[in-house]
Symmetry: C2
Subunit: 324 residues, 2 copies
C-alpha cells in the first residue's frame, strides 16, 4: 500500500467500523452522527503515512490515527457549541439537532474514546505518543480560548494571531505526523522534524483559508466569499491591513468594521479595495509561502521512504492548491 487514497479509504472504513454502545442513545447517537459527517480524514492519513514513511507498519499506527480523528471531531463538536454554529458540513450541529447538554457530554465521551484509541499505540512508545498527543490536545484548547479572547480585543498583534492559528489548527497536524512516526519506530529527531513540517504546513493552510475568504474563486471555495469581512473576523489580512494602513486608510477600515448597518456586498467590495491598495494579497501570500517553504525544508531534512515523502509533498501541494 503506497497510495494516499488507499490509506484514506482504509481510514474511512475503520472510522465507520468504530462501534459504540446503543445506549444511552442520547450519548452515543451524536457520536455516530458526528463521525458520520465525513470529512477528508486528513489527520489520521498523516498519522499512517508518517508511520509507513519511517518504516513502520499500518497496524502500529491505525488505532492512534483513529484516535486523532475522533479527537479532532470532538473539538469541532465542542467548538460548535461555543460558537453557536448551526451547521457543520452542511448538516445540523449536535447542539442544534439535540441540545447543548447532550453535545457537551457526548463530546466528553468522544475525548475519552480518543484517549482509548491513542493508548493502543505500541507499548514501547506509548508514553511518548501520549505526551505528544496531550501537548497538542491542550494547545488546541488554548488556541480556541485565544480565538474567543481575540473577538473581544482590539489590540491583537500579528504574532499573537499566528500563535493562535498555530495552536488551534496547526499543532494537531504536526502531532499527527509526530506520533505516527513514533508508532513506526522513528527516532525523536525525525519525529520532531515531521511535527515541524505539519505545524508549518498547518499555519500556511490557515493563512490560505484567510486569503480565500477574500480572494477565492466563489465556485471553488466552500464558503461564502467575504464571510470573514462581513462578520469582522480577525484574520491575517485584517490585522496586516491595520498594521500597514496610513491614518486615512485605517479610519476607512475601522469605519467599515464598526458599521452596524451596511450592504454586505458593498462592505466586502470596499474592504477588499482597501486591502488591494495595501497589497494585502501579496503580503499574505508571502507569509503563506514562508511557512509552506519552511514545511518543505523540514521534510527534506529527514530520512523517510521516498514514495511516502512524495505522497506528503503531493498532499501538501494539494492542500495549498499548488498542484498543476
Amino acid at each position: 500500500m503506497t497510495d494516499l487514497r488507499q490509506i484514506q479509504a482504509i481510514i474511512a472504513r475503520e472510522t465507520e467500523a468504530l462501534s459504540f454502545p446503543q445506549h444511552p442513545c442520547d450519548l452515543y447517537d451524536p457520536i455516530r452522527y458526528t463521525l458520520g459527517l465525513g470529512g477528508k480524514r486528513m489527520r489520521p492519513a498523516l498519522v499512517v503515512l508518517s508511520c509507513l514513511g519511517v518504516g513502520g507498519k499500518l497496524e502500529d499506527a491505525l488505532k492512534p490515527a483513529l484516535g486523532v480523528e475522533v479527537f479532532h471531531n470532538f473539538t469541532l463538536l465542542h467548538d460548535d457549541i461555543m460558537d453557536d454554529a448551526p451547521l457543520r458540513r452542511n448538516k445540523a450541529t449536535v447542539h442544534a439537532k439535540w441540545n447543548a447538554n447532550i453535545a457537551i457530554l457526548s463530546g466528553d465521551v468522544m475525548f475519552a474514546e480518543a484517549f482509548r484509541l491513542i493508548s493502543e499505540a505500541p507499548g514501547h512508545v506509548l508514553k511518548r505518543v501520549i505526551d505528544v498527543f496531550l501537548k497538542a490536545a491542550i494547545e488546541v484548547c488554548e488556541g480556541q480560548q485565544w480565538d474567543m479572547d481575540f473577538e473581544l480585543r482590539s489590540d491583537v498583534s500579528i504574532d499573537e494571531y499566528l500563535n493562535m492559528i498555530r495552536m488551534k489548527t496547526a499543532v494537531l497536524l504536526g502531532a499527527s505526523l509526530e506520533l505516527g512516526a513514533l508508532c513506526g519506530g522513528a527516532d525523536n529527531e525525525t519525529a520532531s522534524k515531521l511535527y515541524a513540517f505539519g505545524t508549518n504546513l498547518g499555519i500556511a493552510f490557515q493563512l490560505q483559508d484567510d486569503l480565500l475568504d477574500v480572494y477565492g474563486d466563489p465556485d471553488k471555495f466552500g464558503k461564502r466569499v467575504g464571510g470573514d469581512i462581513v462578520s469582522n473576523k480577525k484574520t491575517y489580512l485584517k490585522l496586516k491591513a491595520l498594521e500597514l494602513a496610513d491614518n486615512e486608510a485605517r479610519k476607512a477600515l475601522e469605519q467599515w468594521y464598526a458599521s452596524k448597518d451596511f450592504d454586505e456586498l458593498n462592505k466586502v467590495n470596499s474592504v477588499r479595495a482597501l486591502f488591494d491598495d495595501l497589497n494585502i494579497r501579496h503580503e499574505t501570500e508571502q507569509m503563506m509561502d514562508q511557512f509552506f517553504l519552511e514545511a518543505l525544508q523540514n521534510l527534506e531534512a529527514i530520512t523517510f521512504d521516498a514514495v511516502y515523502k512524495n505522497e506528503l509533498i503531493h498532499m501538501a501541494a494539494a492542500l495549498m492548491q499548488r498542484e498543476s
Copy 2:
C-alpha cells in the same frame, strides 16, 4: 506513613502544587478555582492507600491519584453546566462565575490534564491503568446521561436506578482503588476485588445520601432536608415507595409529585409519612447494608497490608457513619 490523614494532607498539598500556565487566563483561572474549592480528596486518597496496601510506594501512585482527582473535578464542572447549578461547595460554579463556554473549555483541558497525570503511572502497568481509568471515565459519562434521561421518564426501575448510581458515582471509587493497586504491583485478581469493594461502597454511600435527604439530622446533613422530595428527584426511596405502594398510597404519592403549588414543609412531611407507612427507611437501610457488607467481603478476600486494610475499613465505616 500509615495514616489516612497524612495521606490526605499529602494529596491536598500536591493538588495545590499542581501548576498551570497563567495564560490564557480564562482557560486556567477556572481550573485553579475549581481545584481550590477543596473537598475531601477521597478518591486520590483511595488510590494511594490501595497502592500502599498491596506493597507499592507512594510515588508509584501519586500522579495517577492526582489525575483521578482532576478528572473528578472536571466531571463536577461539566455536570454543573448541564444541571445549571449555581453553587458548588457554597461557591459560585464556573459557568455562573465566568460563562458556559469557559466552563466547557476549561473542563476539556482538565480532562486532558487528568489523562496526563494518569499516564505518569509506572510504565509496566501503564496500559492497564489507562484501561481501568477510561472504562470508569466513560461509565461516569454514561451515568450522567442516564441520570438526565431518568428526569424525563416515569418508568425508571430500581435496577436501572442502581445501575445509574453505580456508573455516576461508584465506579470511580472502584477504579481509584483498582488503579492504585495496579500502580503498586498488585495482581489482576486483587485489583478487581478492590474495584468491587470501592464500587459496592460507592453504591451504599449513594443510597445513604438518598436516605439522609429524608431521614437525616438537619444539623449534620449538609443539605436542606427533603430537598429531593421538593424537587421530585428520583431516588431509591421514591422508586421503592412507588413499587411497594397500594393503589391508594401510590395515588397520594403521585399527587404530591405532580403538584405544582404546594407548601414545601407540608409536602416533605406528607411524603415522609407515606414513606413511613411503607417502611421505606428500613427497606433502604437493608439495601444499603447489603452493598456495604458485600464491599467488606470483597476487602476481606484479598491479601493486603493489615494496617492499610484497617484504614480502608475505618474510612468505609466513617463514610457510612457507622463509627462509634
